[in-house]
Symmetry: D2
C-alpha cells in the first residue's frame, strides 16, 4: 500500500498482557462488580459516566422494550433456533433482524421526528403553550405530506398505552424531562384538532423521546431497542428450550399450505 499504515483510534476497549481497559477504566478493578450492565451500555455511547438518574431512566426504557410476547422478532428467533439449534448467535441475530421500520423502528423514528421538529423552531419553547403550538405545526405538516406522526396509535392499546405515562413520570422524577418528551406530550394533546380523532401516545414513541432527551445519537436510537430486545430474545430461547413451540408454528403453517396455480403477476 502506498502511504502510511492506518491507525485506528478508539476510546473503548484495549488491552495489554496484564490489563484490560475500557473507557479509560481498568475493567477488572474499576468496572466489574461496581458498574451495572445498563450503566455500562449507556457510558459506552456517551463516553461519560452516567448519573444514577440517567441510569434509572435508561434502564426503564430497556425494560419497556425488552419483550412484547410473540412478536415477529420472537417468532423469527424461535423458528431459527428450531432449524439451526447449533447456532444460538444465529437465532438471536435472526430475531434482531426483525427490528426494522415497522416494529422496533418506531423508537428511532419518533426520536428523529421530535428532534427535527425542535431543530425547525427558533428556540426551545418556554412553556406548555409553546410546545403545543410547535406540536400543532408539526402534526399539520405531517398530515399535509400524508405522513404518519411516529409514536401515535397502537394496534392493541387503542385508548392508552400503559407505558407512556409511567415513563413520563419516571423521567420527571429524575429531573430528565427534556424538550423531546415535552414536545411528544404536546403532540398527544393537540393531534385530535388536526386528525379528527384521538390516538394514544405509544410506548415505543415515548421511549424514543426519552432516549433523545438523554442526548443519545439519533441515528442509533434503534440500537437501544435492539439491545433491549436482545435480552428478551434470550428469554424467549430459554422458554423455547423448556416449552418448545417453534415446531408447532412450523407445522401449523406447513400443514395449512394451499397450493395455488402460479399466475404470472403481470397477466
Amino acid at each position: 500500500m502506498t502511504g502510511p499504515v492506518p491507525q485506528y483510534p478508539t476510546s473503548l476497549g484495549t488491552s495489554d498482557a496484564d490489563t484490560i481497559t475500557l473507557l479509560g477504566q481498568n475493567l477488572a478493578e474499576d468496572l466489574m462488580g461496581k458498574v451495572g450492565f445498563g450503566e455500562l451500555a449507556l457510558w459506552m455511547v456517551t463516553l461519560k459516566r452516567p448519573t444514577p438518574s440517567e441510569v434509572r431512566v435508561f434502564e426503564a426504557v430497556l425494560v419497556a422494550l425488552a419483550d412484547h410476547g410473540f412478536t415477529p422478532t420472537a417468532i423469527g428467533a424461535r423458528i431459527t433456533f428450531l432449524s439451526a439449534p447449533d447456532s444460538v448467535q444465529g437465532a438471536i441475530a435472526a430475531g434482531l433482524l426483525g427490528g426494522g421500520s415497522r416494529f422496533l423502528g418506531v423508537t428511532e423514528d419518533c426520536g428523529q421526528f421530535l428532534a427535527a421538529t425542535l431543530a425547525q423552531a427558533d428556540a426551545v419553547p418556554a412553556d406548555e403553550a409553546g410546545f403545543d403550538e410547535l406540536a400543532l405545526t408539526a402534526v399539520k405538516q405531517a398530515r399535509a405530506a400524508r405522513k404518519l406522526v411516529p409514536g401515535l396509535g397502537h394496534p392493541v392499546h387503542k385508548v392508552r398505552d400503559p407505558r407512556t405515562p409511567v415513563l413520563s413520570k419516571i423521567a420527571a422524577e429524575e429531573g430528565l424531562r427534556g424538550p423531546h418528551l415535552s414536545l411528544f406530550e404536546a403532540i398527544g394533546r393537540v393531534h385530535p384538532q388536526v386528525l379528527g380523532r384521538t390516538l394514544p401516545l405509544n410506548g415505543a414513541g415515548v421511549c424514543g423521546a426519552v432516549l433523545a432527551d438523554l442526548g443519545l445519537p439519533l441515528e442509533l436510537l434503534r440500537g437501544f431497542a435492539i439491545l433491549a430486545r436482545c435480552a428478551g430474545l434470550v428469554g424467549q430461547l430459554a422458554e423455547e428450550l423448556r416449552t418448545p413451540i417453534a415446531s408447532d408454528i412450523y407445522m401449523s403453517v406447513d400443514r395449512n399450505a394451499v397450493y395455488v396455480a402460479p399466475t404470472p403477476p403481470s397477466e
Copy 2:
C-alpha cells in the same frame, strides 16, 4: 388443518388493551423504573426474581464480556454499518454472528465442560482436595482425547487474565461460589501437572463457570455473551459515527490485495 388449532404457552410477555404483562408482573406498574435491565434479563431466563447478589454477579459477567476492543465482532459490525448504514439492526446482527465457537463461544464451552465433569462425579466434591482430584481426571481425559480444556490460556494475557480473580472474588462476596467455579479454579491449580506448563484461567471461562453456578441453562450460556456483546456493539457503532474507521479498514484491505493466478486446489 386436521386437528385442533395449536396453542402457544408462554410465561413471558402478553398484553391486552389496557395492560402489558411480563413474567406475571404488570410491566408499567411493577417493572419499569423498579427493576434493572440486567435483573430483568436474568429473571426472563430463570423465571424467578433474582436476588441482589445474583444480579451483581450476573452484571459483573456482562460487564466483563461487553467489549474487548477491535475484535472480529466489532470489525464485522463496523464494516457492515459502512456498507449498509440504513440498517443498524443488520450491523449489530452481523457483529453478533461472530459470536461463535472461536471467540465468544468459550464461555459456553467452559460451562458445559465443567457441568459434564461434575455430572461424571459420584458427588460434588466436599473440599478443595476433592475438586483437585476431579479436575486432574478431567484434564487428563481431555489430553488423552487430544482436546483443549476450555477456559485455559489466552493469546494476550499469557500469565494472568485480570478478570478471573476479580470475578471469583465477587462470586465469593455474594455467597455464589458454586461447584462449577470451584472446579474451574481447581483446573487452574492442577493442569500444569498434566500439560507440563502453566496457563492462565481466562475471563471467558470464568464467566462460563459463574453463569453455570447461577443455574442458567448450559445450552444458552453463549446467549449471555451475545447479550453482553450487543451492548458493546452499540458502543462500537456510536464510536464509528463519531470517529469512523471502517472505511480505512476496507481501504487497507482492498489496496493491499495481491492477485494470485488461480491454481485449482487439487492440482
Copy 3:
C-alpha cells in the same frame, strides 16, 4: 383463536409422501437436470418460465454482481468465519447484511429511480430524443432536490465502467432492451449538461435498469444483488479456507488501535 384456522396460499414448493412440486412442476422429473439454477431463480419470482433470452440477460446480471473482490461484504463474511467457523450460514448472512444502501443497494435505487421517472411521463418516449428529454428533466429534478442520480459515477471506474456497455449489448442482442435501459443510457448522454461534468454509468446501475426491464418487482431488485453476492461469498469463504487472510485483517486493526481518552461528544 376465534375464527377459522388461517390457510397459507403458495405457488412455490409443496410436497406429499411421493412427490415434490415446485411452481406446479414435478421437481424431480421436470426441473432437476432440465432447468438451470438462474432460470429457476427467475421463474420463482415471475411465476412464468423464462425464455432463453431472459435467462441469458438475467444470468449476465448475476455474473456482473457476484464478486467485486475485497468489499465490505467479503471482509464481513471472512472475519465472521474466522470468529465463528462452526457456522457457515452465519458468515454468509453477515456478509449479505452489508448489501445495503451504500454498496449493493445501487441496483435497486437505480431501478426504482428509472421506474419512477417513467411513471411520471405521459407515455414511454418513442425515440432517443424523447428519452433524452425525459432524462434531462429527471436529472434536473434530482439536482434541484440535492439528490444523487443513482447509477452515475464510480469510485474506481472514473471514466467508464466496463460492465455497462456489455450489458447493454447483451440486452439488445436478446431483444430485451426496454424503456428502463433506454432511459438509463439517455441519462448517460444528458447529465453533463446539468451536472457540468461527465460521470460514467456504473455497473450496479445498468443491472438495475436491466432487471426492471425484465419486469422484476422493484422492491426486490436488491434481492437479486444479494443472490449474486451469495455465490461470491461462497467463493470468498472457499478462498479463506485455502488462503486465510481474516486473521491478518483482524491483527492489522487490533495492533494499530490507538487509545484516545474519551471525550463526551457534546463537550
Copy 4:
C-alpha cells in the same frame, strides 16, 4: 504496527480504472453473457472452469435444494420482512440463518460422513460388493456410537425421496458418479440389516454425496445449500409481496398465546 504491512492474496475479483478481473478473466468481456451463474459459482470455488457435465450436476443440486415450501427458513424470512420491510437483505439473512444442523445441514453432514468413511478404508472399493461392505461397517459404527447416519430417513417422504434416484441418474449420465455417491447408495442397500427397518435415502443426503464427488470442500457443503436457498428465499419474498401471509402467521401465534404462570425450571 511493527512489521510489514500485510498483503492480501486473492484469485477472485480485482479491478483497476478500466478493467474488472474475476478468476483471471475479464469480467465484462469474457464472463458476462458467456458464463452461467451456476457455472461461475462453481468456478469461484474450484478455481477451474467447470465442464458442462459438472455444471449440469451442480445446478441439479441447487435446483433440488432451492425451495421446500413453508420451511423454517421461508417462515423466518417472511416474518422478518413483515417486521423490517426496509431491509430485504435482513429478511434473506434471517432466513438463511435457519440453514443449520437440522434442516439444510444434512447435505454437509452427509458429505462429511461419506468422506470420513472413505478415508478410513484402505482403498476406494472396486465394486458394488466392496462398497456394501464399507457401508455396512460405517452403519454399524454409527449405531454403536448411537449416532444417526446422515442422509437416511425423511419426515414426509417415508418410503422414497423422489430426488434421490433422479440425481443419481443425472450424475451417472454425466460420468460424475464417484465414490461418495456409490457409498451413499450402498448405505441405502445395507442399512436395513443393521437398523432393522428400511429408510429412504433423502434428497439432502444425495446432494451432499454428489457435491463431495464434485471435489468441493467438505467444510463448505452447507454453503451450497445456503446459495440454493437464497434463490428460494427471493422467490418466497416475491410471493410475500404478491400474497402476504406473514401477518396471518404472526396473528395466529399471538392470538393463540396462553399465559402460564412462571415456574422456575429447577423447582
